[in-house]
Symmetry: C2
């Protein structure tokens, strides 16, 4: 399934890579290369040793020395390989004008393998879990709060949780499972304003930001807008 070449000629590397891709395999090429990307932005990668990963879905990743993100990448286009002048792996970005071109002077190592699909990966602990948690125990948000709907539509977007507080006042809740930034405060304010407009002119609408924490500036923005903050962590059961 997995096979490799050490120091292949460029012609051999070209055949190796295109055969592997035709077989639905992922290909890793390591060697000195330069690259350019042209699309929404422009990117130039000066000569240096990098790894190119060509996935079966025709995603190209060019990785250098550091960082989680590739130095250059392309996806959603058609990939071509050509060994006429160096080994050129190129991706024309399909509908977008994005184009990536990687040119290897030499290939030190080539590996092809049959990678597992993304559905072998499961994730938990996301905002969806936080929502489940507060719906199961609405008092976490505020004693007496009762949810009426989730993802309620407003002209300004969907409110995460919509309900009423102990006094029967309408409440819009915005959930964040990370420390909340100013954008979360203005997002909530947008919803509250839209709800006030949508309901009767004299309708009172409260807004509560639910998150494990807020930044200082965010706390101030909430206060200025008359919005509340309720501390709830996504995981632990000792909320509020």
């Amino acid at each position: 399934m997995t096979h490799s070449l050490a120091d292949p000629t460029l012609a051999d590397a070209e055949a190796f890579a295109s055969d592997a891709n035709a077989d639905g395999l992922a290909v890793s090429l390591v060697g000195p290369c330069e690259a350019t990307f042209s699309g929404r932005a422009h990117r130039d990668l000066a000569a240096g040793v990098r790894q190119l990963l060509w996935k079966p879905d025709d995603t190209l990743l060019v990785h250098g020395a550091g960082g989680r993100d590739p130095d250059a990448w392309a996806s959603g286009g058609t990939v071509t390989v050509d060994a006429n002048d160096g080994l050129v792996v190129a991706c024309d970005g399909g509908s977008a004008a994005d184009a990536l071109r990687v040119r290897f002077d030499a290939v030190h190592a080539a590996t092809a393998f049959d990678p597992v699909d993304a559905d072998a990966t499961t994730v938990s602990g996301t905002e969806a879990d936080l929502k489940e948690r507060v719906l199961a125990d609405p008092d976490l948000i505020e004693p007496g709060f009762r949810p009426l709907a989730t993802e309620r539509e407003t002209p300004a977007g969907r409110v995460d949780v919509y309900g009423r507080d102990a006094d029967g006042t309408v409440v819009a809740v915005e959930l964040k499972n990370v420390r909340a930034s100013p954008s979360a405060a203005s997002q909530l304010e947008r919803y509250v304003t839209a709800l006030r407009r949508d309901l009767h002119a004299d309708a009172e609408v409260r807004g509560i930001l639910v998150a494990p924490a807020v930044t200082e500036k965010t706390r101030r923005l909430l206060a200025e807008s008359g919005l509340a903050f309720s501390q709830v962590s996504p995981a632990d059961a000792a909320g509020r």
Copy 2:
């Protein structure tokens, strides 16, 4: 500089990887593995063939069949390798509670190489370029607009460009080099509100969103908030 092993024993792979890392090299391991991540969220990768890239800065990337983003990753911690029970490459996330553990049943291919630094990469066509462009020719935003400051601080965050229009009215400009979403409108509204509060109570403050395009909902939100939109593309010279 670049060297490889084909189908090494796990002990050999361990020695290969730790030696290479000690020499400041990047290491690629391909083979059947499973992995778990525990931190801000949880992630489980069922058994399957993947590529692990261990960069010299101790970033770990686990890539499967598709997508630009790794199936799992870790950075900012200490990486350890151990071949006692499978080949385990683990990263304790340092200050964060993030921990990634990858366990290989076998290693089909191992490659070590000396990757080029990120400073070999240059980028252009970003929002910074758009800012330069409108500062060089402020009439692109609106005839008569005159910039007074960039990144002006307000209690709600930094205004991209701050100036006055042809009538002398204060203007806050928010730049986007992509099609603008509702979040851009509320970001601009935050700044305008903060400026009105900061300046005299009777101060008039206008807000202009500068972007190549806006979505329909964004256009409506701008109108409701009394904010303007000015179409300027990051690249082409035919603005306004």
